[in-house]
């Protein structure tokens, strides 16, 4: 979706301000949000792209004004309510009004050391790769209202396939419950001028990780 989350190239957000000696979490509630997210993800309630899509759908003013973990918390609430795992009335009341539903599995403390990593997104290919390193490609000019990982600034642009990264779960379908539909993934390299015009930093090159359905020969 063409939301405010898709920030590449936007103006007006100001300077990058790094915090000295920044802690991993800034408060106890951030710790709990992070841990709840990991635990519920482990239980198979949602996949990473569904979680991303939930955050992208937050109203733009909420998205921009919320801290990072607040977005996570609001996204989780949205997903839990939409999936029927918890009621909005329960979250408002802070207590359970109906029994829980059975989940695939439940994360235990003993299992945590084995989950301190991301999941695996590689899948067996369904067909041979359409492109190879060195091929010129043009990204499609698509504007789906649903989740996609093709950023706006890199749509309709010509680049070069730099590397083939294997076959992966396709975010655009899995995020909306239409299955993993694994697709070949490529690193596509663009010249700065192709993306930003003649005033681009002369030496700049930018790459995206692009799924095959985003690309056509150029």
């Amino acid at each position: 979706m063409d939301g405010v989350h898709d920030m590449g190239g936007m103006h007006g957000f100001g300077k990058v301000e790094a915090e000295k000696n920044e802690p991993v979490f800034h408060d106890e509630w951030e710790r709990r949000v992070y841990a709840l997210y990991r635990a519920i993800s482990y239980a198979g309630v949602w996949c990473i792209d569904q979680a991303r899509f939930a955050r992208e759908q937050l109203p733009p003013d909420v998205y921009l004004a919320s801290s990072y973990y607040r977005k996570w918390e609001l996204g989780m609430e949205k997903q839990l309510v939409e999936s029927g795992l918890a009621g909005a009335d329960e979250l408002a009341a802070g207590r359970v009004l109906r029994p829980g539903k059975p989940l695939k599995r439940k994360l235990t403390a003993a299992e945590v050391p084995n989950t301190v990593t991301r999941g695996s997104f590689a899948r067996p290919p369904q067909k041979p790769a359409r492109f190879k390193p060195g091929d010129r490609v043009r990204t499609k000019n698509i504007h789906p209202k649903t989740h996609t990982r093709l950023p706006r600034y890199a749509r309709g642009r010509v680049g070069v396939i730099e590397a083939l990264r294997g076959c992966h779960v396709f975010p655009d379908t899995v995020a909306i419950g239409k299955g993993e539909d694994p697709q070949w993934l490529y690193t596509v390299l663009f010249d700065g001028r192709e993306l930003w015009g003649d005033n681009a930093e002369p030496s700049l090159k930018v790459s995206i990780e692009a799924f095959e359905p985003y690309l056509e020969p150029a």
């Binding site: 957000f13 790094a18 802690p23 800034h26 106890e28 709840l36 359970v96 991301r118 600034y153 790459s207």
Partner: protein, 211 residues
């Protein structure tokens, strides 16, 4: 690394968001626990892992090894996942960790313009600035300006390559080894490696800074 951050109720910098969020999160955790979806002990273990075990010290070890051992460096650049696993720095890494090498002619920078993708396995959780709108918006079209915000100036003839992490591949920058560190142990070299140098928004420390 992270210090334990004591929980207080009146953090002025968070203002009213804090109290609202404390209440919301407490309600959420209570509901998910009572529903039987989450085990509070597992939550504590997750927090502990990310505050104490996973962090930029892991990546620093990888970089120091690459600086010291040419065959490891080659293996790292060929297949980051396999090389880091073989190093035993961590027990698992994501499927696709890709190490990209800085040279006098090329400087690499990592960003995720769409959300906050970051190589957790080797750098821990991302700092706030990495997830912020200024960084996500400007890294891809004004990388020298972003570097200036960090007080970093690249030579004019060093080209810039920005990697936008738009899929589940993850990137770590292999920074250039500082001069006058010949004969240093891997451990001592690792003390030069900053988190920002592995994202591409900084350089490693100079030897004098850790001597």
């Amino acid at each position: 690394m992270a210090e334990k951050h004591e929980h207080t109720h009146d953090h002025s910098e968070h203002g009213s968001e804090l109290s609202e969020m404390q209440l919301r999160v407490r309600a959420l955790e209570t509901v998910l626990t009572e529903k039987g979806y989450v085990d509070p002990a597992a939550l504590d273990a997750i927090i502990e892992a990310y505050e104490t075990k996973v962090g930029p010290h892991v990546g620093a070890r990888v970089v120091a090894k690459a600086w010291s051992d040419p065959s490891f460096k080659q293996a790292l650049l060929e297949d980051g996942t396999k090389a880091v696993l073989a190093l035993g720095a961590i027990n698992r890494v994501g499927d696709h960790l890709i190490a990209v090498e800085n040279t006098p002619k090329l400087h690499n920078m990592i960003v995720c313009t769409l959300c906050s993708c970051y190589p957790w396995e080797v750098l821990g959780l991302p700092p706030v600035w990495y997830k912020s709108a200024p960084y996500r918006s400007r890294a891809v079209n004004d990388p020298r300006g972003v570097l200036a915000d960090f007080g970093v100036t690249l030579p004019a003839d060093t080209a810039i390559r920005v990697w936008d992490s738009t899929a589940e591949t993850r990137f770590i920058v292999l920074p250039m080894r500082p001069a006058t560190t010949e004969g240093w142990s891997e451990e001592k070299l690792a003390s030069l490696v900053t988190r920002d140098s592995m994202i591409g928004t900084g350089f490693p420390k100079q030897p004098a800074e850790v001597a």
